[in-house]
Point group: C2
Chain length 412, copies 2
């Protein structure tokens, strides 16, 4: 029930700042195709390899014209043009637009030689099969996307450290880029400790419970862009815990140990984490509830986290310090604040300034407003995990909150 | 440039309501393990197979006692108890707590026979190795999680149609459930049409451009929980488009056709979609900008969507009608509103009541406020897709918005 490691409680941001000093700046990269690239992080900036579009295109359905032929046109005094056929879609527009003529053109069609504008079909009126009236003038360049106007060869497209979205892949495809260099996903070693914990597929004896955290944390790690290796459950035996942890450290880029729930297991876990390598423990305790008994360490360049055994705490801490560290190892910038929903409290909540509080809550819609009902009761109940649909976040500097107050709810 | 299908512009919600009437209510299901279950949708309700915890556990580090032995205890008049060893973690607590004694117990430890409460270590004071003083009384049951208090056998855990989160998997693992029945992901056939479009890996000839939408829509479909089959690009030839579409309809559960950008291609696509099966086209045009020229249809029980060729439009419409239909086919309930960020407009924006407007925007942080700068210019530029970080949503009933106004920004 004692520990010889100095207790040093810091904010999650301070813990991340300390970690960051000891981590490599540039992730390893690998070439991948577009199909598996969704959600992956670019390892290098990507610029446009070519002009897009490669040719001047019509932005509208209408007629390719020489703009000068339409100057002064109006409803009462339309410009009269001879219709000289149609611009083929998907082929070179070869026939020049002669003075006094127009060619039917579709959106995306290639502007023919000597045309410099497109008249929208809405502002034309057919006279007969071979001629039309233009009811409004167009300026040179109007309704035309010039070659390279969208993207010019060499234009920066995506920076390094960018998490690829669906539309980014679409743009890469449009530019003929079918392979990119992505950051290699860090491998995360996940282990649990505690004599009372057995793996999910074991039959617990009396006094034992199955592991919640290995499954939850592995899923969160995959969601954050990492690969996972599970190392099972270490008993409350320092030699065995150290052996398993060192094996994980050897094979992985980051270690997450979810410590058993007793203080003695946590203390032993902290000692093992501190002994793994340099510089060792950077923070012992973070200013978060639940989640205070968290250990943040670096062992010879690899981050090691000791998370509380309480499953809600472990999830909260994962989001605050482990997920950002995975982003850091991927070379991705900070995620920014997570999207939050505004909701009103159905009952008042106590809190303390000087720490961030997270309270699991059920969200429901009443009339046009979202309301959040805190899920109270002992914080280590697993039913809380399935019942809650969000986490109310009470900032570092806020005290308690009254019933009806607006709060920020993060996805859970 | 004409169409013989009746133009019927409806809101996205109305289009979904019409669709829903023609779709099967119960998804196919398959058994899967927990590792691949993240993000999958439950096909049947899951209830707890056992009591959790299976035995009364301590919720604190402290001493297992008979509560009656502590009644009346105070700092000035502590209760004196003999310490009778320690409850082993992860094993059956067999030795009863005799009157006048206490056993050291850790958080999660099994409550020994005849103990009915736990005194927190903070409220005890050691006298010598074999005895201690209790400084506060505890009530029977205090700091104890009773057997089945967290979840009782038969308690509902997760409903059918629930998208599995990391913590849901953790709870299933804790209850020894390592296989569940999940909805089979619908297979989505993605095809593009237009003579000017070539696949991403082709070298476009003059007048041709590479396909953006097949890649973007496939990635969005996977993100929404579907499997994707790509059917390539159909030329502007009704026979060929119909052949490809029917092949897709044969093999897939839902079809998305991104029509070429010209009105004639769109009209041909609409005709083909209308001819595939019963009841045919349910909505031709939705009250959204961009995205109006959208076709929503059902062909013999399978949804078919004709999306605009403009890539921003195609993405907006996918989010409004295709993604909810994928949820529907998975048996999942409505997603609710997407998480939104509040931001202020850096310039005023025109809009029209009677339709939902989406404007791609770049978000930036100025002091403590988020600001959204609309990405203007022709809406069919692909650069917009990579530059924008969000979509400003202007609701159905809103007119224009002034500079500095607060807007909702959806993730993009």
């Amino acid at each position: 029930m004692t520990t010889d490691i100095f207790f040093q409680i810091v904010t999650p941001d301070e813990a991340l700042a300390r970690l960051s000093e000891h981590l490599p700046d540039i992730p390893r990269s690998q070439p991948i195709g577009l199909d598996p690239a969704l959600g992956r992080v670019t390892a290098a900036p990507i610029s446009s390899p070519e002009d897009s579009p490669a040719f001047a295109r019509s932005a509208m359905d209408g007629y390719a014209v020489r703009a000068a032929d339409t100057f002064g046109a109006s409803e009462s005094l339309p410009a009269f043009l001879t219709v000289d056929g149609e611009v083929p879609m998907g082929a070179t527009a070869e026939r020049p637009v002669q003075p006094g003529t127009a060619q039917l053109i579709h959106t995306g069609g290639m502007l023919p030689p000597q045309a410099d504008a497109v008249v929208m079909v809405e502002y034309t009126q057919p006279v007969d099969e071979a001629s039309l009236e233009v009811l409004r003038p167009v300026a040179p360049g109007q309704h035309v996307i010039q070659a390279g106007e969208d993207l010019a060869a060499g234009d920066p497209l995506l920076p390094a450290g960018h998490r690829l979205r669906a539309q980014d892949l679409g743009v890469l495809a449009a530019l003929g880029i079918t392979e990119i260099h992505a950051a290699v996903p860090p491998v995360i070693g996940v282990l649990s400790s505690g004599d009372e914990i057995v793996p999910a597929d074991a039959a617990p004896a009396p006094g034992q419970v199955r592991d919640v955290n290995a499954t939850t944390l592995s899923a969160l790690a995959r969601q954050a862009g990492a690969e996972v290796r599970e190392y099972g459950v270490a008993p409350d035996d320092r030699t065995e815990l150290e052996r398993l942890t060192r094996a994980a450290l050897e094979a992985c880029d980051l270690i997450v140990i979810s410590a058993g729930s007793s203080v003695s297991t946590r203390d032993m876990t902290a000692e093992v984490i501190g002994s793994l390598g340099q510089p060792g423990v950077l923070a012992h305790g973070i200013a978060v509830k639940p989640g205070k008994p968290t250990i943040v360490a670096v062992a010879d360049g690899k981050p090691v986290f000791g998370l509380p055994g309480n499953p809600v705490s472990a999830m909260v801490v994962f989001g605050l310090v482990v997920a950002p560290t995975i982003r850091r190892l991927l070379g991705a910038g900070p995620a920014g604040d997570p999207p939050r929903r505004k909701a009103r409290l159905t009952r008042s909540l106590a809190s303390q300034t000087g720490r961030i509080d997270f309270v699991p809550a059920v969200l429901e819609q009443r009339d046009d407003e979202s309301w959040a009902t805190p899920v109270l009761g002992p914080s280590n109940l697993i039913a809380t995990l399935v019942r809650a649909s969000g986490l109310i976040r009470i900032p570092l500097d806020a005290g308690g909150l009254a019933e009806g107050a607006w709060v920020d709810v993060e996805p859970f």
